[in-house]
C-alpha cells in the first residue's frame, strides 16, 4: 500500500517528525557522541551502560557490582505484551534509602532500557513503557543503601498480524 506521508503540518515540530509506518524490526543503538549539556554533574547520563549488550555487563557498567534477588522489589509487567513496541512496566519497592531504579530487558540488543535516579524525598516507584524485541526476562534493579536488589519476570512478546 502507498501510505503517503504528507509534509509536516504547521502544528508539528521538526524534532517530532513521525517515523514512517514500520514494524518494530529490532532494537539497538549506534554509538552516539552527544552527551547532554545541561545536566548537572552528578546526573551524568550513563552512556557506557546503555551501550552494553548483556544484562550483566550493563549492571556492571552502571553500578560496578551485582544484584541479589529480593521479594521487596515488586516488578509489574504483563504476561503477554499486547505489542512489543509498548510494554507497560512498573517497579515499586518497600526497601529504604533507594537511590535509583533501573530496568533491563535481557533479550534486547542493548539490555539496559532505562535508569531512574531517585533523590531523597522521591518515592521508590516508577512506571514507564518499554520496547521489547522478543520474549524476554525483564529485570528491575533497585539500588538501596548502596546495595543492589532485583526482581525478574518473563514477558512474552509476539508481533502481530490481523489483530486489533
Amino acid at each position: 500500500m502507498n501510505i503517503t506521508h504528507k509534509g509536516l503540518g504547521a502544528t508539528r515540530r521538526v524534532i517530532v517528525q513521525g517515523a514512517a509506518s514500520i514494524a518494530l524490526a529490532g532494537l539497538g543503538s549506534i554509538p552516539f557522541g552527544l552527551a547532554p549539556a545541561f545536566a548537572a554533574a552528578d546526573d551524568k547520563y550513563p552512556e557506557d551502560a546503555f551501550k552494553q549488550k548483556s544484562e550483566a555487563d550493563a549492571i556492571k557498567s552502571l553500578y560496578g557490582k551485582t544484584a541479589e534477588p529480593s521479594d521487596k522489589v515488586k516488578l509489574d509487567a504483563p504476561e503477554i505484551a499486547e505489542n512489543g513496541a509498548v510494554v507497560p512496566i512498573s517497579v515499586a519497592t518497600t526497601l529504604a534509602d533507594v537511590t535509583s531504579i533501573s530496568l533491563l530487558v535481557a533479550e534486547n540488543p542493548n539490555a539496559l532500557a532505562a535508569s531512574y535516579q531517585i533523590p531523597p524525598g522521591t518515592m521508590p516507584s516508577v512506571a514507564n513503557r518499554l520496547k521489547m524485541a522478543k520474549t524476554s526476562n525483564v529485570t528491575a534493579i533497585v539500588e538501596a543503601g548502596g546495595k543492589l536488589y532485583s526482581a525478574t519476570k518473563e514477558v512474552k512478546v509476539t508481533v502481530g498480524g490481523c489483530g486489533g
Binding site: H5, T11, R12, P78, A85, C162, G164
Partner: protein, 273 residues
C-alpha cells in the same frame, strides 16, 4: 482447476431482500451471545474487553493515552480558520461538535455514502484548501477531535428510504463477508468468526463496535490511523491489494459496519495494540 476448491461451501443461500434493522439486531445478538459477560457498550473497547491481561495494559495506557498529541493537534486545527476565513465548523451541523455518531451519512443528492473523512476533505476543497491524506496524520487528528467531542453518543446511522441507500448498505455488507486476498479471508473471517481468538498472540477485535473507537493509535503502527487506514491495512494483511481510500466499496463498508453498531457509544479516539 477451480471447481473443487470451493466445493465445501454449503449452498445455503438465504433470501436476498436486505433488511438492515433485522441485520443489526442479529449482528448484535450474535456478539452478545458469543460474549455473554459483556455489555453492548463494552464492545467499543475492542479486544481489551475480551482479555484481562490486555485490559490491564489498556487501563495503564489510558492513564495518559498515546492519542493525546493527535487529539490536541486536531483541536487546534479544527479551530483554525482557512485562508478564506471560514472553518471546519461552517461545513458541519452543530459546528461539527458532537456529530461523529451520525457518520457516514447517505447523500441523496449524490446518491452515495459520505464518510466523515470524505466530508472533511470536501470541506477543505470547497474552501480552497488541498485535501489531506486519508490514512493518518492531519486526517486522524481532525477525526480524533470530532470523535472526542462525540464520546458517549450512540451511533445513529440512518438509511433513508432510497433504493440507492439500501443498495450501498447491501454492497458494504457484501464487501464485509467476501473473502479476498491470497489468504482467502473476509473481514468477517477474523472479526466475526474469530474475535477473542489470538492470531500470533494478538487478540482479534469483534466487528461490533470496531468503528466506534476510530481513529486509533495503534502500537503496531506506532501512530494514529483512520478508518481508511484500518480498512486498507486489513486488505493487505490478507495479501490483497487495497482499494484507494474512500473508494465506493470502503464507503459502503463503513456505512454497513457503522449501521450494525447503531446504539453503541462513540469511544474514539482509541488506543489499540
Amino acid at each position: 482447476m477451480a471447481a473443487l476448491a470451493f466445493a465445501a461451501a454449503p449452498p445455503a443461500i438465504a433470501a436476498d431482500t436486505p433488511n438492515p434493522a433485522a441485520d443489526a439486531k442479529a449482528f448484535q445478538k450474535y456478539f452478545t451471545g458469543k460474549f455473554p459477560k459483556l455489555k453492548l457498550e463494552d464492545f467499543v473497547n475492542g479486544p481489551y474487553s475480551l482479555n484481562e491481561d490486555m485490559h490491564k495494559q489498556w487501563e495503564e495506557k489510558e492513564q495518559f493515552p498515546p492519542y493525546e498529541f493527535s487529539l490536541d493537534m486536531g483541536k487546534e486545527m479544527f479551530g483554525k480558520p482557512f485562508k478564506n476565513g471560514k472553518s471546519y465548523a461552517d461545513c458541519f451541523p452543530n459546528q461539527g461538535i458532537g456529530i461523529r455518531q451520525n457518520y457516514p451519512t447517505f447523500d441523496e443528492k449524490e446518491g452515495k455514502v459520505v464518510t466523515l473523512e470524505l466530508a472533511l476533505n470536501r470541506c477543505r476543497e470547497a474552501n480552497g484548501e488541498p485535501p489531506f491524506s486519508y490514512v493518518k496524520d492531519e486526517m486522524a487528528a481532525l477525526t480524533a477531535y470530532m470523535a472526542f467531542t462525540s464520546r458517549g453518543k450512540p451511533f445513529d446511522i440512518k438509511i433513508p428510504n432510497d433504493p440507492r441507500a439500501l443498495a450501498a448498505y447491501q454492497n458494504g455488507k457484501r464487501y464485509f463477508y467476501t473473502r479476498r486476498g491470497q489468504l482467502n479471508f473476509s473481514c468477517a473471517s477474523c472479526h466475526v468468526q474469530n474475535p477473542g481468538e489470538r492470531i500470533r498472540a494478538e487478540i482479534l477485535a469483534p466487528a461490533l463496535g470496531i468503528l466506534n473507537a476510530m481513529p486509533i493509535y495503534r502500537s503496531e503502527w506506532g501512530g494514529m490511523g483512520t478508518v481508511s487506514r484500518r480498512f486498507t491495512t486489513c486488505n493487505i494483511q490478507t495479501r490483497g491489494v487495497p482499494l484507494e481510500p474512500q473508494a465506493d466499496e470502503y464507503r459502503d463498508l463503513e456505512y454497513y459496519l457503522s449501521y450494525v453498531s447503531n446504539g453503541l457509544p462513540i469511544s474514539g479516539p482509541g488506543a489499540r495494540p
